[in-house]
Symmetry: D3
Subunit: 242 residues, 6 copies
């Protein structure tokens, strides 16, 4: 039999997912999302301007920025603002979040405005980017509802939902939603973003130790599909609450 | 009679102060401090190294960094990490926080280690720097207690306490602990940092509109002394809780 | 029937692959790799030092940097050195190349030295990152052989081979090795890195238009496996020549 | 009795103050101000544009930049232009100078133009920021007179005067206008900016050693008031000369 | 008799010069120029915009950027894009190339467009800047011919030709076109840029060891004149080929 | 007859040259040099460390930094420290000054220390780099004399002297020591650095308008030789004074 997970979870078990809306008050959408001990604050900010390449085209833009508070991690990391630049990992993650959320929005229906999703990690325990995507979607919905309620836009530009989860091969066993203890000791790590139609938006798999075989990949994708289904339910539950 | 305050507070009334310890789990000290709607996460991180100018001198260092999440404010501000540098206001505030906390610590007793206070504003409503100082003190105490408990240091390097509050002349009346509505519309704004011996650590007053007279200054200092006394009580209450 | 490809290629047909060794003379390995009109110069440089986090551990390091000459593309791009920073795409690609090549090297056998793979795009026509990985592997082998011949290392630290190719869904049809005309007009774009044992090293799929279904993913992976087999043959042929 | 000052000055005695107008020829105002051995070149430059946030509002802007020549100090400091950024102290000081001078100008009467005060320290011996403010005021007056003489503006936008001095507690005694020997060895250091109506513009006090008591603060403010009165006289004398 | 040159060349002998047009396909002009083992890729890019200071003046602009691939040299140099800035040598060279090419173009006849010459060193063996100038001229001609053929401009804005060569005193003997072995061991190094009317465009001489006398200067200038005459012939031959 | 010079000077006439030693007090050498209205403050700072590439070799280093105060010029220039980088012109000039002064010093005799020449332009009217070189030489001599007097070095590492002047073709006539009015309107501009043995250290000539002929070059070199002879006399006179 395979190694038990450090957390004692089943191989196909998510950590406890919490999605707390209106966590802060100024943003049009503000969500604190938790995947177990990983906590990310996702705010959605609406601005009535678009990047230069879209000006005058009648289309909107959705983009994301990502950051980790210096001591969200086990040991303190340098503050990127103090170092004077964002690292490659940060840029990679924020590009991923932005692409992913643009995949569920009709930019024409949004009109010439930008929604920026700021995803700031308050506490990290693995899976910050997948939690960020899952929470940012809810913040985006709240921001769009704000625009709809004000009459700034006429019809809902969001179609479907997106959510994300990590999967990996931990000591020989494919498992769902890796925490830090697993993430730092696994052979394969894959982030999967899907929409609620069952389609893949992004797939990013990396062999940390040995290369992964096709059958491992298939097992990982099954786990991811299951986990993301649960995340869609959590998003809908959060959005249904007052 | 003078103009009432937008919040309806008395001239010498603080906003509700909350100090929540162990807000995040990795840092040696982690405090979420709230002055009304202003919320700042202050973490204290211990590292076994000192800046170059102190190496080999047997002394420790206490320093601070400050940041605002992009949408902690009414309208979104650029992320400093993305712009590639910290602004003048940020540098000014983090220098102030660091100086202030170094004023209550015996750096020899701390030994060759650095404690970094990261003060990140989750939500801003005026007074972020004074909330940060007040909360960072508690995080510093927790980090020092962590070192004492582990036996890394023999005696407590902290002497006394420090806390800070803003005062200002709002529509002709000296008032305590300005919120954003007052701060953006006041004639004089002063930040006062004191220790629990009744001494001044820092005094930074700025005439935004007309210059302030000596009698106004005297009134403001009285208000600050009163407010800071209440803040010391809040710090002690928080530290006394489990 | 499906749309023909702009180049007239079969769906499972690579572009002409050329791998020219010793393209420049100073580097320990220097390869000009062409995937059709995409041309990337990959040099491998050996240096007798390792990054700080590896110092004194008896292990080596393999890393990569990536750049595009400003006019390697249809319209001129800003020079990253002049703009003062590398963009997110550049960082993402060079991180990918480095990870990928570290997956086929025994860093203990390499000893405390660093091999840097510089991948500079002279001409771009889609697939620059997959060409870069495929060419950089050959440059890495040349650099390692240089060290073996000089007796600097005793046994070959390279195990297996790695190569990479892109696949995508172009107008409804899964196709192999996208050129620029296809890349800029496809629904799904996936980069696949494999080793010669048939294992996956990296998998990065992005839905540009509609989300991709599981059956499309399966078809893309089959194409990639076929293409990469041909790339391993091209690498071996190049390495076998004088 | 208290310790004598290193310079032999009385506790309430300024250093020799010299204000030399038209020190350089291109600027609309150019003043070399000396507080003893501290020498700062203050130039005022008029430009017919305003920052973005003021465009089209019919108001002008006054701003300041500050720098120290690398060898204005006892040991050479890095050149900020070479390091690629201005330090926190520099930003703090130039923000102070700008705020201070905006406090004595009617920006509507200035019209849509910017006056930039460049304060460059040729030689430092303590009190560079207070000398800079005191000298920059004279340069500002000269620049405004230039505009009046040319008929570019109809009425004088300057009301009142501003000047600044440092005070501190040196070895137990409150003293006026600290030189470097005192500044680097004092318990409390305070910079005071006042207008000629006797109002305070800025007050920045820092306890370097022990916290300062209220009675010390009162004594320091008295000294500052006296010193600034003398500085106003020096400014007027300089402006009265040809 | 004097020391023979490391390459065995005569004192007044150029290295083999090759000028290969259309080396890459996207640029309006693309030239790979070789001075012996020094190989520089020079591309000319046409853009329909001019720098701010020329906007609306009906004049065009010609500018240059220069870079060395990290391993174009004997030992690897840091990538300037990764370091975050271009070094002084790079800026100096690209300013030289730009000035030089502007000396043979009628900017009014070019119209409001910019031609950027990117000179990227693929392999360095001394004389990269002189090779770059010589090759960039050919790329510029190709780009202008592209504009003429399309009818974008009516008459040829290029007058005359420019080319460049280095000369130096190597072990007491004035020699033409220094390679790296000579360059790193010579007393005087001079770069000469001339036009085909026999006039000097740029002259940059540096005494690396002892200062050079007037008679040495005269000898160097004679060598340069001869070498540049040969380079003009090579340029014309390249431009005459299909 | 040729156009008279704007200043009324003879073609071979320098502007009034003043060299004022000990202009500031902290630096080991401090010289205010004036070429007419061009005024440059040159300080020489001695530090007991050398750059990394010289460590442990028993040799010293001489280097230079150059800057212009923002309003040293007719219209205000951006402060390089605020822009976050030194421009190409600045880097080019400071590299020139450093190279030039290293040409007259025996770095072995200097020992493992660095002398940094900071050349800061207080007022610009053409020829700032030649004035800087000429003044920096005197500051260097003062710094070396300081070391000799203290016994830090045993013998004088300086051999000979260096000075610099600009020459140019102004409206058809070769003239010496161009001021700004001439510099901005001349056909050829050349900076010449020589030693007192009559040898050339640097020669940098640029055709701003038409290319310059060999006979013009000869005339310019004659003028430069004459002017530099006068500058050597001015340096010696300054050094001879108390």
């Amino acid at each position: 039999m395979s190694d038990p997970r450090p957390s004692g979870r089943q191989a196909d078990q998510l950590r406890e997912v919490r999605i707390e809306r209106a966590f802060t008050r100024h943003a049009e959408g503000s969500v604190l999302v938790s995947f177990g001990e990983t906590r990310v604050l996702c705010t959605a900010s609406v601005e009535n301007r678009v990047p230069g390449f879209l000006r005058g085209k009648g289309e909107g833009w959705v983009t994301a920025e990502y950051g980790m508070l210096p001591r969200s991690t086990h040991t303190r990391n340098d503050r990127e603002a103090a170092r004077g630049k964002q690292g490659g990992r940060t840029l990679e993650i924020q590009r991923l979040i932005g692409r992913t959320l643009r995949a569920c929005i009709d930019r024409g229906a949004l009109g010439e405005r930008t929604i920026t999703l700021d995803c700031d990690v308050l506490q990290a325990d693995g899976g910050t980017r997948t939690a960020a995507i899952t929470g940012a979607y809810v913040a985006l919905v709240d921001a769009v509802n704000f625009l709809l309620k004000r009459g700034d836009i006429k019809r809902n530009p969001i179609f479907g939902a997106v959510a994300a989860v990590s999967v990996g091969v931990y000591r020989g066993t494919p498992v769902l939603d890796l925490d830090y203890a697993e993430d730092s000791d696994c052979d394969t790590d894959m982030n999967v973003v899907m929409n609620d139609g069952g389609g893949f938006i992004e797939l990013q798999g990396t062999a940390e130790g040995h290369a992964f075989r096709r059958d491992e990949l298939d097992a990982l994708l099954l786990l991811a599909e299951k986990g993301i289904k649960d995340l869609f339910a959590a998003q809908q539950a959060a959005l249904a609450s007052a």
